[in-house]
Symmetry: C2
Amino acid sequence: MKSKLSLITLASILCSQLCLAQTNEPVNDWKPAPSNQQGKQYPQVNSEGRVKFRIMAPKAQTVSVSFRDSSPFTKGEDGAWVGYTRPLDEGFHYYTINIDGAEVPDPNSQFFYGSSRWGSAVEVPAKDADFYALKNVPHGQLREVNYFSQSGNTNRHAFIYTPPGYDRNPRKRYPVLYLQHGAGEDETGWGRQGYAGLIMDNLIAEGKAKPFIIAMEYGGNPFAGGPRPTNAAPAAAGATNNAVAGPGGRAFNFTAFEKALLEDFIPYVDANFRTYADQPHRAMAGLSMGGMQTRGITLAHLDTFSHIGVFSGGSIATTNITDMVAFKKKVKLVFVGYGSRELGANRSGGRGFGGDPKDNTAALKASGINAVFYESADTAHEWQSWRRSLYQFAPLLFKD
Amino acid sequence: MKSKLSLITLASILCSQLCLAQTNEPVNDWKPAPSNQQGKQYPQVNSEGRVKFRIMAPKAQTVSVSFRDSSPFTKGEDGAWVGYTRPLDEGFHYYTINIDGAEVPDPNSQFFYGSSRWGSAVEVPAKDADFYALKNVPHGQLREVNYFSQSGNTNRHAFIYTPPGYDRNPRKRYPVLYLQHGAGEDETGWGRQGYAGLIMDNLIAEGKAKPFIIAMEYGGNPFAGGPRPTNAAPAAAGATNNAVAGPGGRAFNFTAFEKALLEDFIPYVDANFRTYADQPHRAMAGLSMGGMQTRGITLAHLDTFSHIGVFSGGSIATTNITDMVAFKKKVKLVFVGYGSRELGANRSGGRGFGGDPKDNTAALKASGINAVFYESADTAHEWQSWRRSLYQFAPLLFKD
């Protein structure tokens, strides 16, 4: 009976995919996206993962969306333009609307920082969305903090996740994961579209991860120029604001961030939160550019970090390790995650970040290092890969 | 020498104002607004308080902005449309851009929740902006929290400001101010565009206010329909998310919020933060609709709140008080704030929120109640009035 049902299900999936490929007619089971603003009926998502937009623009001549291979938008008698995308991967996608040549955010979407701007994004509900669902479990807190960096003469801004129960026992101390965003993103990413807090709340509630603090700072943006805005009044004379980005340019030079992290942020976190301020209780991970930063910074500071996570940001080859004996002694975990669509048929993934990540990780493991490779099914260089990577990574941290 | 310079300054100000009135040519000292996204050169603000916009829309036929009496937008050869506003009041103003009939956020602006949507706003730097400037002083934390309301079967979402030093002494307890947003706004308003945290950090650093906790919940929105979005996955079965708004409509019925505040939020705050959980250490204040809620809820619960703040949301008349003896005994402060431009020449302010606020407050004072009226110079029903009101109100709280 069970296999019969499965066959029917399979047949119906195949049929629906083939029929669609022929007719290109979207399945008519649209529902408002969970990323919409309150009360907004559009964008809508259907069971194929297509997204349908509706933009009021009565006098416009053309309206389109930044997703490639989308349908043409057509204007109704009410002045609203409607169009839809190809089937998209499950998860979170940034986009813009184009109205007569103007690239603007969709006014129906909530806003997120990515692609070097605050703008719109759509959430295509994932089958495994339960692991970052908001549930009736004990919740941690996401704390927005400002602090002054003496070494950088800079006001800095960060988010700190404290696990459930943090305020209950004022003598209990916690390990810390330093968790970095990608290029074109900022310190809001992991707490907002990354759902880091909800992922941890759920893991901890199920007893799958130890409670730890997550510290999220701005790692700079090689694609964005100009100062970061702060509030209306000038800050302390001569001070800049999280001035890590520097003058822009694509140098991917992480020196300023490395300095800010080691000289300012880690000391700030250790002084202001109940951490175990030592190497065995300190992890670093990041996505894309943040993964590259993680690799570079941890390899140069093995006395500072014991657990390493690289999500879609390259991997660590045995040739990157200058002293294998010291590395084995100090590093308790190397975790490398990728979306399957980044790896491709020839497993050429890593986008030039340094060799085949799966092979590199297997070689580390063969060398006796606790190395784990994770492949997120049917996702690309996007947040669903990174949410899943964190979900896989967190339970492996601080196990002893 | 000093008076001579002042005369010259005065003459030059007068001249510039008169000349402008005649020629309508904006003063050419434009600077990027502090509310812009990182690296964005527009919108710009000049010394008159005009705001100039630049929107790339090469194929558009008309572009405009929602500020009344703005200049027509003209298109340059680069495809960018440029236009500017009349001189605006100092402070923070929501706006939208219209491109061929489409009302969209300005892609150059940071985004804020107001007017029942996440959208653009511009900060016209105020002469007194120093009181909410980000400075190198000890900072509190703005904590984003989720909790489950049993009585409402609702996931609720709030922000809690904890003052500098909160984590230092685990035995110290603090009073709490419950601080509400206006209609069309939400629990993000006071921490984001209201700068409540920076206002408190600065007041505390100067010894002008006692450290206290500020608790900010969603008070509902009579103008917004539909459920509030949460994350991608469904919440606990049957649960809604901060479902205070109800079905919409302009009923201004605060029963659901009153219940959520008293039965869920105050108990949550008292259980999870180190509060003095008693009437002498509990204040409530709010702006506009939040002021109306404050008036209604505090008057009905004088055993719960001892300090009352109503910002641009009406006032308390002696006729609102059923038992003056009990009121005098229980209420330590009634603070009423308004922007001067709301009060107008005939002091008809209060927008029908119940009598003349200045006269009402004077009558309270004459009755022996510690009642304070504050008028924010040259501001209207906007955030600069409410930032200033908080700045005036906070030092008066919990004085004994």
